[in-house]
């Protein structure tokens, strides 16, 4: 297999090297890639959409159809992790800790119930005492990370960033919560229903904006057609449409990242993790 792989790799590399001979030089301003479409985009985007970040404008408007499917791909990934890993059977072994004394109880029968009370807490198999420094620092940090994520989403028109990056950052703030406390803390606050509804809703916002444009008599995703719906400067309407779309992407990506993490780390049982 190693030799076989090596031969394939060398063949591919050779083919690519051969193809590279006729490519224009790296960074050549006169190459076809930098002149044909690129010039149009650079010269007309600000005038047509009022969005200074060209990447966002092309991403969410000119090639918005691509981005819609990109979001759908993310949604697919979340759903795939749910479908492949989610395990609704209760876990056989459970561990409880008596808080005042630190004694651990190991339950082998899933039917056994513990008398409700404050002195026992359900815990993970690989339990380690949680570190106060980590907990405190994360508790302070998480809100700031989330605000930054919202800023990235909202400011995507003017600076690097956008729905996808913001969504990932927001999602990772939630993942940080799961890591610094434990998975149950996260699952209790952000339930599975909440996540899956948000994942679908995010993409639905995107598609819905497009369909709304279609209902107003334009093409699919033609934000310019939404002008009568919004009491705003009609020249600015495309930027607003892009913002709406980015928010949808952000919501979907945030939810999906958390879904993937929770399902992988707990093998689909949503009980204990890293």
């Amino acid at each position: 297999m190693k030799f076989f792989g090596f031969v394939i790799v060398c063949l591919t590399g050779g083919l690519l090297l051969y193809g590279t001979m006729d490519l224009p030089d790296w960074g050549d301003p006169g190459s076809p890639a930098s002149t044909h479409l690129s010039d149009y985009y650079i010269e007309h985007i600000v005038e047509e959409t009022q969005v200074p970040n060209l990447v966002t404008a092309v991403l969410a408007d000119y090639r918005g159809y691509d981005t819609m499917f990109e979001t759908a791909v993310v949604f697919c990934a979340g759903l795939a992790c749910f479908l492949l890993l989610r395990d609704f059977r209760p876990k056989k072994d459970r561990y409880f800790r008596h808080v005042p004394t630190g004694v651990m109880l190991h339950f082998k029968n899933p039917q056994t119930r513990l008398i409700a009370g404050n002195e026992f807490e359900h815990m993970d198999k690989d339990w380690v005492p949680s570190d106060m420094i980590i907990k405190t620092v994360c508790r302070i940090l998480i809100p700031f990370i989330q605000i930054y994520a919202l800023y990235v989403v909202a400011h995507g028109d003017f600076s690097p960033g956008g729905g996808f990056q913001g969504g990932v950052i927001f999602g990772s703030s939630l993942i940080l919560m799961a890591i610094s406390y434990n998975l149950k803390t996260l699952v209790k606050r952000v339930t599975e229903k909440f996540l899956s509804v948000f994942a679908a809703l995010g993409v639905l916002i995107y598609v819905g904006l497009g369909v709304a444009a279609m209902l107003m008599g334009g093409h699919f995703l033609d934000y310019g057609m939404l002008a009568p719906l919004l009491p705003s400067d009609p020249g600015h309407i495309r930027a607003l449409g892009m913002l709406g779309v980015e928010i949808g992407v952000g919501i979907a990506v945030m939810a999906v990242m958390v879904i993937i993490y929770i399902n992988i780390v707990s093998e689909g049982r949503h009980d204990e993790g890293l």
């Binding site: 394939i8 005038e47 200074p52 991403l59 399902n263």
Partner: protein, 138 residues
């Protein structure tokens, strides 16, 4: 030799992307551990992204965010020269490609976890052995 040196300098980015791609592809084909294969897959995809980003680069140009375009008012006054800004299109394409690659990565990892649950190993040869054992047992 004197021919080749300028060629390398002019295109070294393309050459190095090919090397990275070969590393990734080799890991995908020849490595035995499924996780290693996944990492190889990601290296392979990142190499392609590097290729696209190299396409977009332009000497003497800046990042594709129009200066003075903030708020969308002052931009009308200044004339925008295409030569001043990097081509935004490859960046857009690659944003999509990164998202696709992370989605594939997530799904593949979920599958790995599931395979480990069933067979207790991630080595390809051991997996093959266990599958054939199972078939002969039937």
């Amino acid at each position: 030799m004197s021919d080749i040196l300028p060629l390398i300098v002019a295109k070294y980015n393309f050459w190095l992307y090919i090397i990275l791609m070969m590393i990734g592809l080799y890991a995908m084909i020849a490595k035995n551990n499924l996780m290693k294969k996944l990492v190889g897959m990601n290296i392979f995809q990142t190499a392609i992204i590097l290729f696209y980003v190299s396409i977009g680069y332009k000497h003497g140009a800046t990042i594709p965010i129009i200066q003075g375009g903030h708020g969308g008012h002052s931009a009308h006054d200044a004339v925008i020269h295409a030569a001043d800004y990097i081509n935004p299109l490859p960046h857009v394409l690659m944003l999509t490609a990164i998202v696709v690659s992370v989605a594939t990565f997530g799904v593949a990892m979920a599958l790995c976890v599931r395979i480990y649950q069933r067979y207790q190993t991630l080595e390809e040869d051991e997996l093959r052995m266990r599958v054939s054992e199972r078939i002969t047992h039937e």
